[in-house]
C-alpha cells in the first residue's frame, strides 16, 4: 500500500472501531467479526498499538542552545548576508543621492537647503549618540540571555 492509496472499507471500519465512532450495533457486529477472524484480530491489535503510540507522543520544544545554534546557522547563510548588503547599498546610494540632489538643485532656496541638512545632521548626531550608548550598555543587560 502506498501513501496515496485509498483506504479500504475494512481499514475505515477498523479506524472507526478504534476511535469509538461506531454505533453500538455496528460495534457489536464488528466485534463478532474480530472474534471469528484471527487475521482481523491481529490487524486490530496492530492498529490499537499504533493509536497508543501516537497518542503518547509529545512534541518537544528544542533546548535553548539548539535554538541558538539553529538561528545562528540560519542567519549566517549567504542569502541573508547578500540581502542585507544589497539593502544597505541601496539605502546608502539613495541617501547620498538625496543629499547631492538637495545641494545641487538650484530651484530650492538656500534656507530650505540649510534647514533640511540641519534636520538630517541633527538626526544623525542623535542616532550615533544613541547607538554608542546602546553598544556601551549592551553587555550589562542582564536579560540578554533570555530567549523565550
Amino acid at each position: 500500500m502506498t501513501d496515496d492509496a485509498p483506504l479500504t472499507d475494512r481499514q475505515l471500519q477498523l479506524m472507526a472501531f478504534l476511535d469509538d465512532e461506531m454505533s453500538p450495533e455496528e460495534r457489536a457486529r464488528f466485534q463478532r467479526e474480530i472474534n471469528e477472524d484471527p487475521e482481523l484480530a491481529i490487524e486490530v491489535a496492530s492498529y490499537r498499538n499504533l493509536v497508543e503510540v501516537t497518542a503518547s507522543m509529545r512534541v518537544m520544544e528544542p533546548a535553548d542552545h539548539e535554538m541558538r545554534r539553529f538561528w545562528a546557522k540560519f542567519y549566517n547563510r549567504g542569502e541573508w548576508r547578500l540581502g542585507w548588503i544589497l539593502i544597505f547599498l541601496g539605502v546608502s546610494v539613495l541617501f547620498g543621492f538625496g543629499i547631492y540632489w538637495l545641494i545641487t538643485h538650484e530651484a530650492i532656496p538656500l534656507p530650505v537647503k540649510l534647514a533640511v541638512l540641519s534636520v538630517v545632521a541633527g538626526a544623525l548626531i542623535l542616532l550615533v549618540n544613541t547607538l554608542r550608548l546602546k553598544i556601551r550598555t549592551h553587555r550589562f543587560d542582564r536579560y540578554r540571555g533570555v530567549l523565550r
Partner: protein, 104 residues
Amino acid sequence: MLITTAEAIPDRAIVKTIGLVRGSSIRTRHILTDIAEWIRNLVGAELHHYTKMLAECREQALDRMIEDARRQGANAIIGVEFETSSIASGAAEILAYGTAVVIE
C-alpha cells in the same frame, strides 16, 4: 521570595499584608530586526526575535516587581498578574503586579 498567582498560600499563614507591588518594562528591537521579522511575517513563522523581546520584558517586569516587594520588607507576593499595553509601536510592554505580603 515566593511568588504566586493564587490569592493565598494554603500551607503558609499571611502575617502581614504590605500592599501593591509592581514592575513594568517596555523593550524594543532595533530596526534591522524589525525588517527581518517583517520579512518572516510575509511567509509565516515564529517571530523568534519578538518572542525573545517579550520574554526579556516579562523577566524584567517580574524582577522589578520582586525588587519593589523586597524593598518593602515582603517575603512573598500573591495574586500576581501580568498586563500588556500598547504605547510604542513594535515594542513589548508588560506590567507585572501583585500584593506583597509577609508569610510565616
